[in-house]
């Protein structure tokens, strides 16, 4: 495939397949949090404001009916992106376009707002413990005034519960009577009750046991196929992400470092951090190979390192990496992938190898 022309300046959204319309566009999205100590203490200690750059310039597009996943370790800003996208936080900089409309505008009208919903991580915290399941599921219906008729509303709730694999009779119960997996089904039923087109899924399976995780992932894929949903999927689990995504963005310290088609990311990961993440996953195949885990830890997003934020842990780092922040650039010869890495841009990275095989790039410091 030939390299696609770039419709935007470097560092902005990935060019998507021509003809596909974007359900959601994030454009240079940033969110900073003021984590300073109270004014008085700050004055006494003589220190300045402390700004946490949770998300610092993230751009992507999600074509309708597809899934974009964001992966990364805790503190990389992936959950903050999810919250920016559904409007729980206003962005410090940049903007979100939902179906071509500015998010702020889109959320002003109930008719638009009902088109996006969110599924949360913790099935024990995402349902109000004092409400019956039928009221939980019906809440969006009532809030948006979708079905005024009581009987029809009940029928719709029963239908939703059946759709996610529960019994209509479960509507009478309270959340504590359900297991974690069943609660996540209730969450999904609530999210679906306003007939949304776009779902933001923030680590929807990471609190679940693995056998239940498979049930929920299958359900979500099934619903996407049946209802034509668009997903923004947030996860730290690369194996899960591979199963559900069309495209995957890898985040590190509030920025995207690589964004690629799902299969490409796994067969030819390019950014050293992506490679390190893949390397870190325990090997179920038990090839007996000795993994070399990436050394060091994620730096604090309050005082990120100069230049490329990954350079202190990167085996390929050089003087340029320490000084200059790399931009997200399309890769030569690997259409659809953008990566923010000087080494990749300059071609001094080792050739890409698929995840889970013998690919190895050294690290500056090892665990032991």
């Amino acid at each position: 495939m030939a390299e696609e022309p770039m419709p935007r300046a470097p560092g902005t959204a990935l060019p998507h397949a021509p003809g596909a319309t974007a359900m959601l566009v994030a454009d240079e999205l940033a969110r900073h949090f003021d984590v300073s100590r109270p004014l008085l203490q700050r004055l006494l200690a003589g220190e300045g404001k402390r700004i946490l750059r949770a998300v610092d310039g993230v751009s992507f597009e999600i074509p309708k009916g597809t899934t974009l996943s964001l992966v990364g370790e805790s503190g990389c800003g992936k959950s903050t992106v999810a919250r920016l996208v559904v409007g729980l936080y206003p962005p410090t900089r940049g903007r979100v376009l939902f179906d071509g409309q500015d998010l702020h505008q889109a959320r002003a009208a109930a008719a638009q707002r009902r088109r996006m919903q969110m599924i949360f991580q913790d099935p024990y915290a995402s349902l109000n413990p004092r409400w019956r399941v039928r009221d939980i599921v019906a809440e969006p219906i009532r809030a948006f005034g979708l079905i005024p008729d009581q009987a029809a509303q009940r029928a719709r709730v029963a239908e939703l519960l059946t759709q996610v694999g529960l019994s209509p009779l479960d509507g009478e119960k309270y959340p504590h009577e359900f297991s974690g997996g069943q609660r996540q089904r209730i969450s999904i039923a609530r999210a679906l009750s306003s007939n949304p087109e776009f779902l933001v899924c923030d680590e929807p399976t990471s609190a679940l046991d693995v056998s239940v995780q498979a049930q929920i992932l299958n359900l979500m894929k099934d619903l996407q196929a049946r209802l034509g949903l668009t997903y923004l999927f947030i996860s730290h689990n690369l194996a899960v992400v591979r199963q559900v995504s069309d495209r995957i963005g890898v985040m590190y310290l509030g920025r995207l470092v690589e964004l690629a088609e799902a299969e490409t990311l796994f067969t030819a990961p390019r950014h050293p951090y992506t490679r390190a993440l893949m390397e870190a996953i325990p090997d179920l195949e038990m090839t007996g190979r000795q993994r070399i885990p990436v050394g060091g830890e994620v730096p604090s997003p309050i005082s990120p390192p100069s230049g490329c934020p990954f350079h202190p842990r990167c085996p390929l780092a050089d003087a340029r990496c320490k000084a200059e922040m790399p931009k997200l650039l399309p890769l030569k010869g690997q259409a659809g992938t953008i990566a923010a890495c000087h080494a990749v841009e300059e071609g001094r990275d080792p050739p890409p190898t698929p995840a889970g095989t013998a690919q190895r790039i050294g690290t500056t410091e090892t665990a032991l």
Binding site: R83, V86, G87, L88, R107, A110, R113, R114, M116, Q117, M118, F120, Q121, D122, A125, S126, L127, N128, P129, R130, E139, P140, A143, F144, S187, R190, S194
Partner: protein, 307 residues
């Protein structure tokens, strides 16, 4: 009928009722509390005499000791006071006032404290800072001082006859206003926890108004500790009222509460007529103790860590 039986059966089967039944002290204090409540609430029908009916008072009957003593009279089980009023009846009527003031002031401080705490916790920022600083400042004063202050201001502002008419409300307001910070702080900290839970975020994604989320989602989930504080505060409020009345700044002497009775009886304690002050005192202790023990039990029963 069936609609009543189902919740009742659920209550009898609940962990709360189980822990209640398992604690003899709690059952006993509930019984004592119930006796106080019934005795006070139904005083006009249960009391042997009407201590405020001046026509039935007879000074010959004054200073009669309790019935079981040598000079006792069967018609006055706990004796009479200096004006020949039946002490038992006076206690029942007095407890009525005490409970009324206690319950009303707790309701007042609960409404105020829960409302402000909810708003402070949910909105955060400047509103939170302002409300909590006010609460902090108020907490630096002893509550009885605040009550005295309120009473003093009202007395100074209003003419005496108007003050006597609204004295009851003044006491309720004075006691209630001194207790709200405790409610507000508790509700605020619970709200801070709840508002970051994902069910609240889910409601925000839907786009529900802040007031709606506060009332339907957050409020029901922060009420547990409020119930405990309200119960414990009822005991405090009754004591506060008694203290104010004892100091003579509480309810008017025409409607004596337990505190007033104790104050009146106090004058005769050393002249031998001990029953005039001791029995109202015992009634006050029984009432406050049972309420406090119930509150302690409730606190432990609702605390998942202690279960």
């Amino acid at each position: 009928m069936a609609a009543l039986i189902a919740p009742l059966a659920r209550l009898l089967d609940s962990d709360l009722f189980y822990s209640f039944r398992r604690s003899p002290v709690t059952v006993l204090s509930a019984l004592v509390g119930l006796v106080c409540l019934v005795g006070a609430g139904l005083a006009p029908w249960l009391a042997p005499h009407d201590p405020f009916d001046l026509a039935s008072l007879n000074l010959i009957d004054a200073f009669k000791p309790p019935a079981w003593m040598a000079e006792g009279d069967g018609t006055y089980p706990l004796g009479t006071d200096d004006q020949g009023r039946d002490v038992l009846s006076a206690i029942m009527y007095g407890a009525r006032i005490s409970l009324l003031v206690g319950i009303c002031s707790v309701i007042f401080s609960t409404l105020l404290g829960v409302g402000l705490g909810l708003v402070a916790g949910y909105l955060g920022g400047t509103v939170d800072g302002l409300l909590m600083r006010i609460a902090d400042i108020q907490l630096t004063f002893p509550s009885i001082l605040i009550a005295l202050l309120v009473d003093g201001v009202v007395r100074a502002v209003l003419p005496r006859e108007v003050h006597d008419q609204i004295a009851l409300f003044v006491v309720i307001f004075a006691i209630g206003i001194s207790a709200w910070p405790q409610f507000a702080r508790t509700v605020r900290s619970s709200t801070l926890v709840e508002r970051n839970k994902e069910y609240v975020l889910a409601a925000r994604v839907i786009g529900l108004s802040r007031l709606h989320i506060m009332l339907t989602h957050v409020l029901p989930n922060v009420l547990g500790p409020v119930l405990v504080i309200a119960t414990l505060n009822l005991g405090n409020a009754i004591i506060s009222e008694a203290t104010l009345s004892f100091l003579g700044v509480g309810v008017p002497p025409t409607e004596p509460s337990l505190g007033t009775l104790i104050r009146i009886g106090n004058d005769f304690l050393f002249s031998g007529e001990w029953w005039i002050t001791i029995f109202p005192g015992v009634a006050l202790i029984a009432m406050v103790l049972s309420v406090n023990l119930l509150g302690d039990w409730l606190r432990d029963a609702l605390n998942p860590k202690l279960r």
